[in-house]
């Protein structure tokens, strides 16, 4: 029998706690349609969705930019679950169709074999609830993880009351738990307009939609302030109390309790990217999206994508049936995602907002709120302030290209400044760091490399992350490094020649 290094994963097994034929991640329109279609075709389906997420998690702006504008209702776990189930009739339909639907269950990682991994038994998903995590093996996985909001730093944006449109719409329409009466919306994208209309219908007074450009991108009956610059959010103990704009006719002040970011809606590709599915920037589909083949499959065998995580555009935003149709096709491996007509240049649009609101800010707000990193610190690749390193003469005259090379990567910026390395896992600043990287290196947004996503794609307590089962060989041969005794042999007692036959066997311990 072939000898295999027992300190390696060769020969180790990955204990799976359960298996299914199809796993669907995300119970939005696409995920529900996928799961129902597969179940109706006789396929064994597990559908997981992290919602409703715990109130404390919402408070960390995970997984959406809730901006602290949840009502007390979110603390009632049972009522939130009931509200979520009632919010979409397709959920009951899924139960009736025999879908094994688990709410409050998140997927923190997807794994398959690839160029540098060979010990997965097939597609594997890491799942968790509030108590434990476990592994599920599936023959096929449909990722339908939806959308989230791009953050935007401006003076005062760290206060409660600044939030994302998707977060606001979810709280208002799914749970009736949005603590907002008077709101101003930044952006006039189709997503901003559609969201503002839903919020207005839910009783939120929409004072205005704000546009940096001369005219709104999307027609709307709601009031629009064009050619405006966000000056600051004012606030008090309850967070935002007013938004001040600079426009052609001077300063305008809106008394409001909420400022809703609707300038960039982003496909949630965290699981797809961390599973090494090929991602490409498509300005017509909302930015970085998975590259899909005609069956809706990603570049990684066994993983498909559908719904908003595969691309966002106006028609899809307005009509959930578009995502649902994608979900049905992806579940059955029978069709591609629709291709939209590009309505506007998201690259120039998002850069315009960052240039105007963030680079134009007067108090240097934190772009990365978790790690407290400003735009200037990102552009000058400054070490974090807690290191206390004095500014070096001439540093502020160097641009990103002279500091990091011709094609600076947001990953370099992250590791050196820590922007995006915090608890919210970069969800509030990722697109801003990419935009600043583009602005700082004189390139366009679509040419900026994608900062890597990593599992777990949700913060996971160590005690929850601990495995339910562990391979006996891995447990018996767990070593701090490679388990090579010769590696730690002191240098004054090494043999003259090394041979495999004469190698020192056994565990060494780093000592």
């Amino acid at each position: 029998m072939t000898f295999r290094d027992p300190y390696s994963v060769a020969g180790a097994s990955l204990p799976l706690q359960e298996t299914t034929t199809l796993l669907v991640v995300g119970a939005g329109p696409a995920g529900l349609a996928a799961a129902i279609a597969a179940a109706n075709a006789g396929v064994k389906v597990v559908l997981v969705d992290e919602n409703p997420v715990p109130a404390a998690t919402m408070g960390d702006d995970v997984p959406h930019f809730f901006g602290g504008r949840m009502t007390g209702a979110v603390r009632n776990t049972g009522a939130m679950m009931e509200a979520f189930v009632a919010s979409d009739p397709a959920i009951a339909e899924a139960f009736d169709a025999g879908v094994d639907l688990r709410l409050g269950t998140l997927c923190w990682g997807l794994y398959t074999n690839g160029p540098s991994v060979g010990w997965m038994p097939g597609p594997v998903a890491g799942l968790a609830d509030g108590e434990r995590s476990w592994l599920l093996g599936a023959e096929r996985i449909v990722v339908a993880t939806g959308r989230r909001d791009m953050g935007l730093a401006f003076d005062g944006w760290e206060q409660p009351g600044v939030m994302g449109m998707e977060a606001a719409v979810r709280l208002a329409t799914r749970y009736g738990a949005l603590a907002s009466r008077r709101a101003v919306v930044l952006g006039t994208t189709a997503e901003a307009v559609h969201g503002a209309e839903q919020l207005a219908a839910a009783g939120v007074e929409i004072l205005a939609l704000v546009e940096t450009g001369p005219a709104p991108l999307t027609p709307t009956g709601l009031p629009v302030i064009a050619s405006a610059t966000v000056r600051r959010a004012e606030g008090g103990v309850d967070g935002v109390s007013a938004l001040v704009l600079d426009g052609p006719s001077g300063e305008t002040r809106f008394e409001c309790d909420t400022i809703i970011l609707g300038l960039g809606t982003v496909p949630v590709i965290e699981l797809l990217d961390s599973a090494h599915c090929r991602i490409a920037f498509d300005p017509a589909r909302g930015g970085p999206v998975p590259v899909l083949d005609e069956a809706g499959d990603t570049s990684v065998p066994g993983i498909a994508a559908a719904g908003d995580c595969a691309g966002i555009w106006a028609e899809k935003t307005r009509d959930p049936a578009v995502a649902a149709a994608e979900g049905r096709r992806a579940a059955l491996g029978s069709g591609a995602v629709d291709l939209p007509q590009s309505a506007y240049d998201i690259c120039a649009y998002r850069l315009g907002w960052v240039r105007s609101a963030t680079l134009g800010a007067r108090t240097e707000p934190y772009v990365c709120q978790c790690e407290e990193v400003t735009a200037r610190e990102i552009l000058e690749v400054r070490p974090p302030r807690y290191l206390g390193a004095p500014p070096r003469p001439g540093d502020n005259s160097r641009d990103l290209v002279s500091l990091l090379g011709q094609a600076p990567s947001p990953d370099q910026v992250k590791r050196l400044t820590r922007a995006g390395m915090g608890l919210c896992q970069g969800r509030r600043c990722r697109e801003q760091v990419a935009a600043l990287t583009a602005l700082g290196s004189g390139t366009t947004l679509d040419r900026v490399p994608l900062a890597t996503h990593r599992a777990p794609v949700r913060p996971l307590p160590l005690r929850v992350a601990a495995p339910t089962g562990e391979d006996a060989g891995i447990a018996a041969h767990w070593d701090v490094w490679f388990g090579m005794k010769s590696q730690y042999q002191n240098f004054w007692s090494l043999p003259e020649h090394y041979t495999a036959a004469g190698r020192l066997a056994g565990k060494d311990g780093l000592g």
């Binding site: 072939t2 290094d5 027992p6 300190y7 390696s8 994963v9 060769a10 020969g11 180790a12 990682g109 690839g114 160029p115 540098s116 991994v117 060979g118 010990w119 961390s274 090494h276 974090p384 807690y386 290191l387 390193a389 070096r392 090379g405 990567s409 370099q412 590791r415 050196l416 608890l423 599992a455 777990p456 913060p459 307590p461 160590l462 005690r463 992350a465 601990a466 495995p467 562990e470 891995i474 041969h477 767990w478 070593d479 701090v480 490094w481 490679f482 090579m484 010769s486 590696q487 002191n490 090494l494 043999p495 003259e496 090394y498 041979t499 036959a501 190698r503 311990g509 780093l510 000592g511």
Partner: protein, 382 residues
């Protein structure tokens, strides 16, 4: 040709330190990297600086406290280390380091559970025993390697990123130029410090340097309040509490990979996928630090590193190409890098190392290596 006196292939810790040491001597140096500085294992490791088994240990310990000043950029170096054993079995395993360090003049204290709880409160009150090492310590890998690059550039050295090497020009035995995607660059001396690609590059110059690439994984938590001692490890894990407060740890099984040929450098380089081993590490981290069991894991990642058959460095001239020096640190390169660069500087400039006996790094020790050594050692892909 826009060449340099010395070309270094590999913008990792070893190559950039070597280039920086040479630039300090006024040597015209050019570093070529297929991707980005610090992008591979040099920027992804545990940041440990505690290599008591290496002939470079004393120089490693001498240099680290000086590095922030010498480079002019912060490395986050923090001296000392506490190693905790939660059981008598772990305690028995952890005796090698203090013994090796003592022989080289470095002091280690044995500490009890109460002292551990003071230095590393997250470990709780019930550890078996520990060592407080007045040596070793840790730094931030990515920050340090970028600091080498910036310090090198400050001295006039050049770094070309996204520039994969495709081959060499030779004159007789000597290498005269490096062929890349971005053109051909002449050199008087070549240093190959290209991590897992070092073997293929040396082979292209006629010498086999045996090595196998492997993938290893790490995890990191959200920031926690800083412990009085941040260089804390044990329980089968290596790592540190970062200066920001995150717990960054690794350990456990690795995955051996197929070898990477020269034609696959750049685009075809192995991806750096992580696996569910994140869970196994999380469990051990929670065991080591019971009071951090609530801490939230926010990332896991992997890196690709190479190992020679005995897991020890090769820093040597290639017998088939006398003006080429090959340097692989065999999966333990970051912490030693200040000293490794010094060795390579000495070999290039003076022909011999001035401060340590580096005879154990010679390639000739593998002259009797069996052709099927990889199979014998079981270093097989999964």
């Amino acid at each position: 040709m826009n060449g340099a006196s010395v070309i270094v292939i590999g913008g990792g810790a070893t190559g950039l330190s070597a280039a920086w040491w040479l630039a300090r001597d006024g040597v015209d140096v050019l570093v070529l990297d297929k991707g980005l500085v610090a992008w591979e294992a040099s920027g992804r490791n545990g940041g440990g600086c505690s290599h008591h088994f290496s002939p470079l240990f004393a120089e490693e310990q001498r240099l680290w406290p000086l590095m922030d000043g010498l480079l002019g950029y912060p490395t986050e170096y923090t001296r000392s280390r506490v190693r905790i054993a939660r059981s008598p079995e772990q305690w028995a395993q952890y005796q090698l380091g203090p013994t090796n360090a003592a022989r080289q003049g470095f002091r280690t204290e044995v500490i009890d559970a109460k002292q551990i709880a003071e230095l590393a409160p997250l470990a709780g009150p019930d550890c078996y025993a520990g060592h407080l090492c007045h040596w070793g310590g840790h730094a931030n890998p990515h920050r340090t390697v970028q600091a080498y690059a910036w310090a090198l550039q400050d001295l006039g050295g050049r770094v070309m990123q996204q520039t994969a090497v495709r081959g060499f020009e030779r004159s007789g035995e000597r290498v005269t130029a490096v062929e890349t995607d971005a053109g051909t660059f002449g050199c008087d001396t070549l240093v190959i410090a290209a991590g897992p690609h070092t073997g293929a590059l040396a082979q292209a110059l006629g010498t086999a340097v045996p090595m196998v690439p492997a993938r290893a994984e790490m995890i990191v938590t959200e920031p926690l309040p800083l412990m009085p001692e941040t260089g804390v490890d044990g329980n089968g894990l290596y790592g540190r509490q970062t200066r920001r407060g995150n717990l960054a740890y690794g350990g456990g099984p690795h995955e051996w990979l197929a070898e990477t040929g020269l034609d696959r450098m750049g685009l075809g380089a192995p991806s750096r996928a992580a696996t569910p081993l994140m869970q196994n590490m999380a469990a051990r981290l929670a065991q080591m630090f019971p009071l951090a069991a609530h801490a939230r894991l926010i990332r896991s990642w992997a890196g690709i590193i190479e190992n020679t058959p005995d897991g020890r460095p090769v820093i040597d001239r290639l017998p088939t190409c006398p003006n080429a020096i090959v340097a692989t640190m065999s999966s333990i390169g970051f912490g030693l890098s200040p000293a490794t660069g010094h060795v390579i500087r000495d070999l290039v400039q003076d022909g011999a190392c001035s401060f340590a006996d580096v005879s154990s790094f010679r390639l000739e020790r593998f002259s009797r290596l069996e052709p099927d050594w990889r199979e014998q050692q079981g270093w097989l892909a999964a």
